[in-house]
């Protein structure tokens, strides 16, 4: 079971009561709903679209679809990006009658070998019509909101020298460097609190995240939290980056762009890798470092060789927090057992009891924005996906567009910060 570590009240904020899946839950204002749900024993949060397999968060960074919930009558919101507040009503979705007991999960058993929708019920036109009717009833994501939200957000325009996208170690260091050099700098970050992977790594931690943020704002950079870059529109007034915040739309015009979006945590391909309880190692680290929550009593860390140092640091911190940690090379994993929550990992060297499977794969570069700015990317399996190619100075193939940190290939928080500072200095001098 997940548990909150004692003696960390200061980081949790005020105690609140909210309702998660019809149960009253005590949580804290500095916790995301996903973190509070795990700490209070709520496990399955939604169901998958096709096979109705049980789902909960995987990334805890607002990027995967595992923790989509209905929040105060509004569907499809990420529980990991919503802070706890008193009286909130959190409901699971895509399940009948409930996320824990979903009769539609029968689809998963009936099609254990997989379901090819190209040839499903296409033999007879009558059966095909019936099948389509059923599928239309079952599919879709969530139900419509309980009421229309008619409040339209403010639109705010920024005209700056430098726009940094991503408030992790690289982005904060880059913004501090450009602002210190006198450049008007705005940084956007999509998380509840800036800091990125520093908030998930015991070697850096919350304090490093907060001092990096203070360094950027102290140098004069404007930092916008909970602000997601949603698209670059080159045809609009010479090119605008549109950024979405909970109650605001930002339109950003910049002379130079620095992409510091890092990498998305991804899964590894082993059987039953999508079971709830199989979560990103960085999410386990984030729970520990940022929320003082130990994700489980027995944590099986499935890792790739390239991340051995990161895993050693995480395993050490988890052990000191009282968890039992078993490290397994990814190649040795046979399968995960446990239907609605992982309870055992079968490996080539034996069976491992666990209540969390933490997956450490190389994060996949978050290169969508650079791709919209026509920057060249290259598939590099050692970098976890499509990394942005940069020259020695950090410049991409598009003039005025730069990239630093893990979006150019995984390097980890400390090296990403150094890279961000270096590229920020280059941008200021360019």
């Amino acid at each position: 079971m997940a548990r909150r570590l004692a003696g960390n009240d200061a980081v949790r904020g005020d105690a609140v009561e909210l309702r998660i899946a019809d149960a009253s839950v005590r949580a804290y204002t500095e916790e995301s709903i996903a973190a509070a749900a795990l700490a209070s024993g709520t496990r399955v949060m939604s169901r998958s679209l096709k096979y109705h397999r049980p789902r909960t968060f995987f990334c805890l960074e607002g990027h995967c679809s595992g923790c989509l919930v209905r929040l105060d009558g509004v569907p499809n919101l990420r529980a990991c990006q919503a802070p706890c507040a008193h009286g909130l009503e959190v409901e699971g979705q895509n399940a009948f009658p409930s996320t824990e007991v979903d009769l539609l999960g029968a689809v998963d058993f009936l099609f254990a070998r997989g379901l090819d929708h190209h040839t499903l019920m296409t033999g007879s036109s009558m059966l095909n019509r019936l099948a389509n009717k059923v599928v239309r009833q079952l599919s879709g994501l969530g139900k419509l909101p309980a009421r229309a939200n008619t409040e339209l957000p403010e639109v705010q325009r920024f005209d700056v020298d430098v726009c940094v996208i991503g408030g992790g170690p690289a982005g904060l260091a880059a913004a501090a460097a450009t602002a210190r050099a006198g450049k008007r700098t705005v940084l956007v970050d999509d998380q509840l609190r800036p800091g990125g992977s520093m908030r998930a790594d015991p070697r850096t931690g919350r304090s490093a995240a907060e001092s990096s943020l203070a360094a950027a704002t102290g140098a004069g950079a404007t930092v916008l939290a909970r602000s997601t870059a949603v698209g670059y529109f080159p045809e609009d007034d010479g090119g605008v980056l549109v950024v979405s915040a909970p109650d605001r739309l930002y339109r950003i015009f910049a002379r130079s762009w620095i992409w510091a979006t890092g990498g998305y945590v991804v899964n590894l391909p082993f059987p039953e890798n999508d079971r709830p309880g199989v979560i990103a190692a960085r999410a386990v680290g984030r729970l520990l470092v940022d929320h003082a929550i130990v994700a489980g009593d027995k944590i099986c860390l499935v890792e790739v060789g390239a991340l051995a140092d990161d895993c050693t640091a995480l395993a050490g911190a988890l052990t000191r927090a009282g968890a039992e940690v078993t490290r397994v090379p990814f190649e040795n994993v046979i399968t995960v057992r446990g239907r609605s929550w992982a309870s055992q990992v079968d490996t080539t060297t034996g069976k491992i009891d666990c209540d969390i499977v933490a997956v450490a794969a190389i994060p996949s570069p978050a290169s969508e924005g650079p791709r919209q700015q026509k920057c060249q990317v290259v598939l590099d399996p050692a970098a976890g996906g499509f990394r942005v190619t940069v020259d020695d100075h950090g410049q991409t193939t598009t003039p005025g567009v730069w990239a630093c940190g893990d979006v150019t290939g995984y390097r980890g928080p400390a090296a990403a910060a150094a890279d961000g500072a270096r590229v920020g200095t280059n941008v200021a001098a360019a």
Binding site: G62, S65, V266, P271
Partner: protein
Amino acid sequence: MAGKIVLCRCEDVTLSDVEHSVSRGYVDIEEVKRYTGFGTGPCQGKECLGPVATALARLTGEPPGAIAPFTSRPPIAPTPLRILARDPGAHRFDDDKDE
């Protein structure tokens, strides 16, 4: 029977779905996306693009550098339409009454 290896959790696309796609001759990443539906869910490929592309390189024998990503289009993340409603860059229809 071996359990499912899920590459795209949004749309429940498995490694065997990608293998099936390749066996049918759909080997380009845009074709695989359309055939299997990977990358078309709420995460829009954040979790699956890298792993699927890496699997494709292995299954087709192509060098990884020869595999391009699928096209990235706005919105990069799910965005409520009301957030965009006042964007002056948004297209306005002729019959908008409050113009």
